[in-house]
Amino acid sequence: MDYTEKAHRPIKYSIFVYVWLALVALTWLTVAVSGMHMGRLSLISPFIIASAKAFLVVAFFMHIKYEAGIFRLFIGVALATMFVVVWLVYSDIAFRS
Amino acid sequence: MFGATSILGKAIDSQFFIITGICVALFSIIIFLMLYFSFKYTRKKNPNPTDIEGHAPLELTFLGLSIAIVLLMFYLGWGDYKTIREEIPKDALAVKATGQMWVWSFEYPNGKLSNTLNVPVNKPVRMNIESRDVLHSFFVPAFRVKQDAVPGSVKSVWFTADKEGTYDLFCAEYCGTNHSAMLSKAVVMSEDKFNGWLEGKAEAQAAPPPPGAPTAKGDAKKGAELYSSKGCVACHSTDGSKRIGPSFKGIYGTKVKVTTDGKQREITIDDEYIRSSELTPNADVVVGYQPIMPPQKGILSDGEINSLIEYIKSLK
């Protein structure tokens, strides 16, 4: 019985190049935005853009778009843990007298 | 020793007995059933076991009951915590408690300093707790209060003692070698007596606040005050008796053996050596003692160190 990886055709080069172009563009965007003074937004926008970049890397470069669902489930567990830790630590930081 | 002698302490005690009571009851049921089953269903008495995979209504009932019980306990504990943390009376007597290795000092609103905590009976007292070096914890078991002393910030806790007497005061957060000797007393006295004490003359143990501007020249009298207020007293005696560190009595000018970088050498105790012992105490350690003295860099000013040197010189 031969065990074969399922559904792992090589991903096209062009997809990676497009993703890379998007990443560089986002980097340019975040640098450009950081020059403008937009108050609260300039605190949040770099992280929204960074998360978009991280999403692209994880989904395409790290093949999560093409992998089985269990990988997404695991990533969900890790992210949920982080969220809970942040929430609880900030229940101290934000309310300390 | 068991009963609380503060108003909130009494409330906390009654909750302790309710919660402990529930726990004892639960424990008894569990252990009774475990033993009852294990005597009733031995292999001899019951050779043919019955497989019971579960019983949803029973399990859900247990689940529901458990949630109800723990929520009740949570609620009981919550109330007084709120009072202690969030509802400090405005008219409370504010006492500043400072922890340092390994001594407590208390400062009253009129500037009076003391190493024991004196408080009036039946009047709320607010402790503003801070630390000069590492974590300590202000703990008076009889009042059921405890609060960590955190360097860099002031933490508050309050109590109303309702019975005159002298009670133990501990440091409850581990703070180094002499942690277990960081003891003091909380003395609860009548209001008249307390006021008399508060207005009275400074006690021998108490020291005035360290001077704002450091004087360049040393002053043996100031040194004596620093000796008790900075906690040197915890480790170094002035009567020749051996404590954690060497006694200061007649030490100036004598020759001692010290360990420097693992090698022994002889050194004369002079101004320079005392200064380095304050700033980098573990560089040259007197043979027979442990390298445990906390460095005073940034804690003692130059002038204060000079005063201490003068004081040590004066101890013949």
């Binding site: 640098v31 960074a50 942040v86 | -």
Partner: protein
Amino acid sequence: MNETAEIAANKHKDYTGAKIGMWLFLFTELFLFFGPFLLYSIFRYRYSTDFINAGSELSLFVGSINTVVLLTSSLSVALSISALQKGNKKLTLLLLGVTIVLGAVFLVNKYFEWDAKIVHGLYPGAEALLSRPKGEILFFGLYFFMTGLHALHVIAGMSVLAVITFFVMRDKVTQSDYVKIENGGLYWHLVDVIWIYLFPLFYLIR
């Protein structure tokens, strides 16, 4: 028989298993950086002016260049996997080589950046730094700790990729058995993802 049962029964190479293991390891790396991130956010919240002042002393230009360098290296390693899967060994080796060189470029930039700060006495424990406001002491403490830890990961990633290059040369990693290069790539991408977050943290606050 389901897939897992099949593996258990026959002890074939389990690629999905290897990748699960790699991802779990990546989570531990992620949480390693998550701790300092959390601390950063807290101190940023408490000393925001100090952080903004300190952040403006870092060179946005060098930071941006390094970001692009690392993104490009991520591209080349991703391409190298596809190249190997298509059976193009030469291209694979070339792309892996490019990745490692880009990693080295990143480190050289980082070295000059650190050096410039250290020359000005802006390093943890330095008198010049200690005389500054507390928020700036913390900013530079975190800057050196986090970028230092990240640089160590870049070095580790480069070593992993070097070993994989060697395996590809010796045909130990091939078109039909490529899970090692996939896992090495995953590690490299993680290093990239961490940098994607470090970049705004230190260079873009103003």
